[in-house]
């Protein structure tokens, strides 16, 4: 009896595992249904984030800390909104993971700006470059998210 239950349980775990793996490794057409909702939410969130970041302009040195704090808040909010809307697609997951990777890097950069260590701010930004968030957005077919915000001042 116990043996039968154990075999049954293993079977269920195996099925669940296969389902999860298949879902997370798929992308594109297979996720078009859930991706449509995700894309709309993500694009709207990116448009809002781009607008907020563009409005910050290019800061003078004295304003770099404030710029970093605000940008960090915008990206955190973007990550929260996009993460909540993400489906099972690999490209969606990769984009959300890119944002998740960016948040602690931005936090470190803000701390470096707080210490007026501007060389560290620059060096830490290499961590953001490596994410290639624009490419991840393109892969997830997020056109707005792939764009670089342009300062309005």
């Amino acid at each position: 009896m116990i043996l039968a239950l154990a075999v049954g349980a293993i079977g269920l775990i195996a099925v669940a595992g296969c389902g999860g793996g298949g879902s997370s490794s798929s992308a594109g057409a297979g996720n078009s249904e859930s991706g449509g909702g995700f894309a709309a939410t993500a694009e709207a969130a990116c448009a809002k984030a781009d607008k907020q970041i563009a409005a910050l302009g290019t800061p003078q040195q004295a304003d770099v800390l404030e710029y970093m704090e605000r940008t960090e808040a915008v990206i955190e909010e973007l990550h929260r909104r996009v993460g909540a809307a993400a489906g099972d697609g690999a490209a969606e997951a990769a984009y959300v993971k890119g944002l998740a990777t960016a948040v602690p890097v931005l936090d470190q950069m803000t701390n470096a700006a707080r210490n007026e260590n501007y060389d560290a701010v620059r060096e830490l930004s290499a961590g953001l470059v490596e994410i290639h968030l624009g490419e991840l957005a393109e892969a997830a077919e997020l056109k707005v998210c792939a764009e670089v915000p342009v300062s309005t001042s």
Binding site: Q60, D119, V129, L133, V148, S151
Partner: protein
Amino acid sequence: MRRLKLVLALGGVIALLGSAGVAMATTGATTGYPQPKVVVPASVSTPFENRYVLTAVGSGAGIRSGEMKFEFEEGSSPEFLVGISQFYVYGPTGEIETALFTFYPFTELPGGKGLKATALKVGAAASYGQVTPDGELRMFDPEGDRVKGEMRLHGDGPWPVEFRILDEDESTGGHPPAARQLPEARPTDPGWGADAAEYEGEYELTDGAEDPTEKAGTLGAVIGVAQGLGVNGAVVTGGSMTVSGRPATAEVELQTGQEKRSFTLTGLAWQGDRRTAQVHDEGAGSPPVGRFEGTGGNGVVKGSLVSGHTLYKVEFKLK
């Protein structure tokens, strides 16, 4: 016998603490610095492992006196140098203030002419235990007990410096003598050449780096801002300069990706191939935030544009 051993052991400990105490009091302990990315061969760095007293400095630096020591990081392999210094500087109202700098990491100067290191300040704005880059010290190869060099601090300079190597048993007693003030040898002829027609016009940047914000999506703007910061050389991906007017001024635009920074250069001056100017970041009427120091001629102007704590290496060519 046991009592003798105890006395010897205690004596040893006391001697060790005493020597450590002296070492820390006179030189500071340079421990905990990570291995630099660039290794300087011991044959190059060993001649610089000395204590120094400042004997001469460019008058613009506002430094009265100072001393420093370069020593190999304890237990490092391969060995690397760390410098510690104490300068006495003239404050804004003439009083003497103390300025502490650490020099790290050291790298070789081009052509094997000496060493250079980032000047790390211990400032009021820094968090406990942290230092921030504030300039650069260049030390040319020692000649006897003398070492000449250049120093750049808090976005200004470079100023010439000269140090004397202290003998092993020599001490300033914590009161280094006043250094000779070297007169500023900055160009004084107005403009960037004898004939305005030679240097007036529109210039384009010729040493732009790759755009780090490309493919960065929403993060592109913050990358553009961050990569345009730092005394160790901000990233410039594009730019332009227009020189015009009597007296001549230059409007400079520098880009990192899509982030643009605008500067106005005033007080353009030249002598031989040297080109200098004051840098403003909010128009010619705003207070200067740094200097441009470089060379020029034949339609090319290149050098370092310093704005606050940020240094931009630029090369412009007349269109």
